[in-house]
């Protein structure tokens, strides 16, 4: 079992509501606390990425990330549309499945095709900062906001528009949902489900 890091987060309910709801002048502290929750060691995170092109054309990628004693195991299932040829009619989609084991910053084991190695190694992670959001409501263990700086929030250069984020949390995150429109117009959804 992993060693859990408990970060002391002391939030009086009323104060938290006041802080995240804009009733106090110290909102930055609250976002710092969200970042601290993100730094907790979770035993498992399930990330589901959904790309929606039209009502019947959806690609779903699922990554299950388990953290055990400093070793991260990623099981992934990635859907892609299949190309068609005159020789054969194929299913509409293909699914790539595999497993990667990461220790430190090194991928030490890969089993499966087209593992998203870049994604495993490159992401800098989410970052909660007040200046990244507008129309934010941070209260009662939840955050709902429009993201005005998608790249800053997501930690990568991103051309998406109309990004929104919603999250629920207690001492740790329960889930984070991010939606936006990709540069080609299709809709993208990221859903993180956290298990402490």
């Amino acid at each position: 079992m992993k060693v859990r890091k408990f970060i002391p987060v002391i939030l009086a309910g009323c104060a938290a509501a006041a802080i995240f709801g804009g009733c106090t002048t110290d909102e930055s502290t609250s976002y710092d606390e969200l970042n601290a929750k993100l730094d907790l060691e979770y035993s498992q995170i399930v990330l589901t990425v959904t790309n929606t092109y039209d009502e019947n054309s959806v690609l779903t990628d699922k990554y299950t990330i388990k953290h055990v004693e400093g070793v991260v195991t990623v099981n992934y299932s990635i859907e892609r549309f299949a190309e068609v040829s005159l020789d054969s009619a194929t299913d509409e989609k293909t699914t790539i499945v595999g497993e990667a084991v990461v220790m430190g910053e090194n991928v030490i084991y890969i089993d499966g095709k087209e593992a998203p190695l870049d994604a495993l190694a490159a992401g800098t992670g989410l970052s909660f900062k007040q200046e990244y959001f507008v129309n934010a409501t941070l209260a009662g263990g939840s955050l709902n906001a429009d993201v005005s700086n998608p790249s800053g929030f997501m930690g990568v250069l991103l051309n998406g528009t109309s990004m929104k984020v919603s999250a629920t949390f207690g001492d740790a995150f329960n889930d984070i949902k991010i939606t936006y429109n990709a540069k080609d117009g299709h809709q993208v959804e990221y859903l993180y489900a956290f298990t402490v």
Binding site: L38, E55, N56, V84, L86
Partner: protein, 724 residues
């Protein structure tokens, strides 16, 4: 011999399907063999393989070869034994490319008679007679390809040789006939290899000495020693046989071969057994056994059926004014079926019809019916609405002739026709035209303006000089009860002389008795230089003109107001004005240009299935419009092959609405494609192209979608990576 009988019986059942299909299609001249004929023909074949079977077949096809055709007959029978797949009358299907060729011998692009077993490779057995004019042996070939084949043996040349193109070497894929190496080897396309092999085996079996093939009867014309290596590029006879058996297997018997085998049988009396049962080849030369022939299926019978399925009219709804006429025409489906029809009207007091020509008689509605003479149960109708025109009982009015009445004469003098908005027309000799001037140059002998049509008896004529650029000038007025016609080299001189008046900017009026209906206005100054510029000529009619403002448009009528077109077809719409003296000038628009477009002159061109509304908008009053509805259908597809029909329909059903629908409909078309025979694919080649295009577009979209999902910018695991 049970096996043979079983196979024959099986084949008979199979061809019975084709026979019934052909009957449905109305193909009566030639179809594939009927069961009884085949059964009887092979009733003497008892051997199961080897030389014994070869000998029996030799004797059979020699003995039954009752009519030896001449080389000229091969020309005569070409369109019968090898009809064009697209149904072009009198044309043939080229052997190597399957393209349609109509002209016989004359140059590249025409067809000639191809000795599949080259004359020069026949050990002198045939020239243009005997085996050299056997219809089972001779196939139509494009002259250029025929020349390329030359004296080449059949073999493999694709990898090392050159491409052999039909016609003008345009290298259109549909004209690729095979590959060749110098003058030694020619390789046909895969879908022709089996045809060629079965013809070679037939010739070998028929024209060999009986003793060479285990038979007892000699060909009545020519016979001798033939080896496959004569015509097959192979190191020895065994290798040649191996290649023939490969080709026989690679390209199975298709409906085209079955069709022509029966057609030739009806002419010569004998059959090509290697087409009737391709397993004979393996049983004789490959150590195999006779097996049931493959079921040919209800594939395409060469040449389209001419059985009428339906007819349609060039209009389904018309709006006519009294005395208007409109010509209806019949289009049959299939297009080569009879278009002959009888015509009737539901109300001859409203509209009459004769040979498709409708004449509007009185206000009301009538239904015009065309009934096919080929099949009286097949009909098509058009609804005619006859309108009462509002200007039929007018008593007086005016028309104005001005610069707009003339087309541009550019520079120099021009003899012109003119037309006032009211509809009155005439002729003039004038310098310059529309909006530039209405200049009558006095250096010219003929400088005048006269009318060739009328609205009624003329009450007065008022002429005004153009402001600012014309001195007052004398003009003479003539009036007549007959039109002035065209006079390019002299002034009008007939009619009553109404006197000469000086025309000023404020205008001058001739009041006349109202008995004449035509006028001529002549420049009356005898001078060597100078010009007269007119502003307008206003003609007042005592009767016959429209009441009030003659130019005022009340309504536009468009015809036809409803009609159908097949994709790729065009028709021209017409617009008329109410009152008829008003302008009918319009601009045209289409509500759905992807379905149908409309040109400036009202010609509608159909592009794909669907409906579109064509709108004509008056140029003098944009609030007045008229609309017509066009329904576009895909070109009717007629085939004897259920597989080809299914594929055609599947391609037509491809729907790119959503990616899932797109994938599903493309997949259905791909599955239908896999069921096509070689001849099916030839028949539906345009649909194959459409499917390939759809697949290409689909794959491009999928790549884009996948690429977007794989976009390196996306924060795939960014949230988690802080944990890693």
């Amino acid at each position: 011999m049970q096996k043979i009988f079983k196979s024959i019986l099986s084949f008979c059942l199979a061809v019975a399907v084709c026979v019934s299909t052909a009957a449905v299609l109305g193909v009566t001249q030639h179809s594939v063999a009927d069961a009884a004929t085949v059964d009887t023909y092979y009733s003497k074949i008892t051997a199961s393989g080897g030389t014994q079977l070869l000998g029996q077949l030799h004797d059979l096809i020699v003995e039954t070869h009752k009519t030896y055709t001449s080389y000229d007959d091969c020309k005569k029978y070409g369109p019968t034994t090898d009809p064009a797949l697209d149904g072009t009358s009198g044309a043939v299907m080229e052997f190597y490319t399957h393209e349609t060729i109509k002209k016989f011998v004359g140059g590249v692009g025409d067809w000639n008679r191809e000795h599949v077993w080259c004359q020069s490779l026949s050990n002198g057995l045939w020239g243009q007679g005997g085996g050299g004019s056997d219809l089972h042996h001779i196939r139509p070939s494009e002259s250029g390809l025929n020349s390329t084949r030359g004296n080449c043996k059949y073999g493999y040349a694709k990898d090392t040789g050159k491409e052999a193109w039909s016609r003008d070497n345009s290298k259109n894929d549909s004209k690729l006939g095979g590959w060749y190496i110098g003058t030694s080897i020619f390789e046909p396309l895969d879908n022709v290899k089996g045809d060629a092999a079965r013809i070679v085996m037939y010739v070998y079996t028929h024209y060999n000495n009986a003793s060479n093939v285990g038979g007892t009867k000699e060909s009545a014309k020519t016979h001798g020693n033939l080896n496959f290596t004569n015509v097959i590029s192979a190191s020895n006879e065994a290798a040649a046989i191996k290649m023939l058996l490969e080709w026989n297997k690679l390209d199975p018997v298709d409906e085209i071969e079955l069709y022509r085998n029966e057609a030739v049988y009806k002419i010569q009396g004998n059959r090509n057994p290697f087409i009737d049962n391709s397993s004979y080849a393996d049983a004789i030369w490959g150590g195999g056994t006779v097996v049931d022939p493959p079921t040919p299926g209800p594939g395409p019978t060469p040449g389209p059926s001419d059985t009428l399925q339906s007819i349609r009219l060039n209009a389904t709804s018309l709006n006519l004014a009294i005395n208007d006429t409109y010509n209806l025409t019949v289009t049959p489906t299939p297009s080569n079926a009879s278009a002959s029809a009888t015509w009737s009207t539901s109300d001859s007091s409203v509209a009459t019809v004769s040979n498709g020509k409708i004449t509007a008689k009185a206000a009301g509605t009538a239904t015009i019916t065309a009934t096919s003479t080929a099949n009286t149960s097949i009909k098509a109708t058009a609804t005619v609405t006859v309108r009462q025109t509002s200007s039929s009982t007018v008593t007086s009015g005016k028309t104005i002739i001005n610069r707009d009445s003339f087309t541009n004469a550019s520079s120099g003098y021009a003899f012109q026709t003119w037309k006032a908005k009211s509809g009155v027309e005439g002729t003039a000799f004038i310098y310059g035209g529309k909006e530039e001037s209405m200049q009558f140059n006095i250096k010219q002998k003929s400088h005048y303006l006269a009318s060739t049509t009328t609205l009624g008896t003329i009450k007065s004529i008022t002429v005004k000089a153009a402001a600012g650029n014309s001195e007052d000038r004398p003009w003479q007025l003539l009036t007549s009860t007959t039109a002035y016609g065209t006079m390019e080299n002299s002034n009008p001189s007939d009619g009553k002389d109404r006197g000469t008046k000086t025309v000023t900017e404020s205008g001058v009026t001739w009041s006349i008795d109202g008995n004449d209906t035509y006028f001529a206005l002549i420049y009356a100054l005898d001078a060597t230089s100078g010009a007269a510029y007119l502003d307008s000529i206003e003609v007042e009619y005592a009767s016959g003109g429209s009441s009030g403002d003659t130019d005022k448009l009340e309504e536009l009528l468009i015809n036809p107001s409803e009609f159908e077109l097949q994709a790729g077809d065009s028709t021209k719409l017409t617009v008329s004005a109410i009152p008829s003296t008003a302008s009918a000038a319009v601009t045209w628009t289409s509500s759905n240009p992807s379905v149908a477009t409309v040109s400036e002159d009202g010609t509608v061109t159909a592009h794909k299935a669907g409906t579109a509304t064509i709108t004509a908008t008056s140029t003098v009053n944009s609030a007045i419009t008229a609309t017509a509805t066009v329904t576009v259908t895909e070109e009717a597809f007629v085939s004897g092959s259920t597989n080809a029909t299914a594929f055609h329909n599947a391609v037509a059903a491809i729907n790119d609405g959503t990616l899932a629908e797109w994938h599903a409909t493309i997949s259905a078309a791909v599955k239908a494609y896999k069921a096509l025979s070689a001849s099916d694919k030839t028949e539906v080649s345009s649909d194959v192209e459409k499917l390939n295009s759809a697949i290409s577009n689909y794959n491009d979209t999928v790549k884009a979608y996948n690429g977007a999902a794989d976009d390196a910018d996306k924060p795939a695991l960014s949230g988690a990576s802080r944990l890693i």
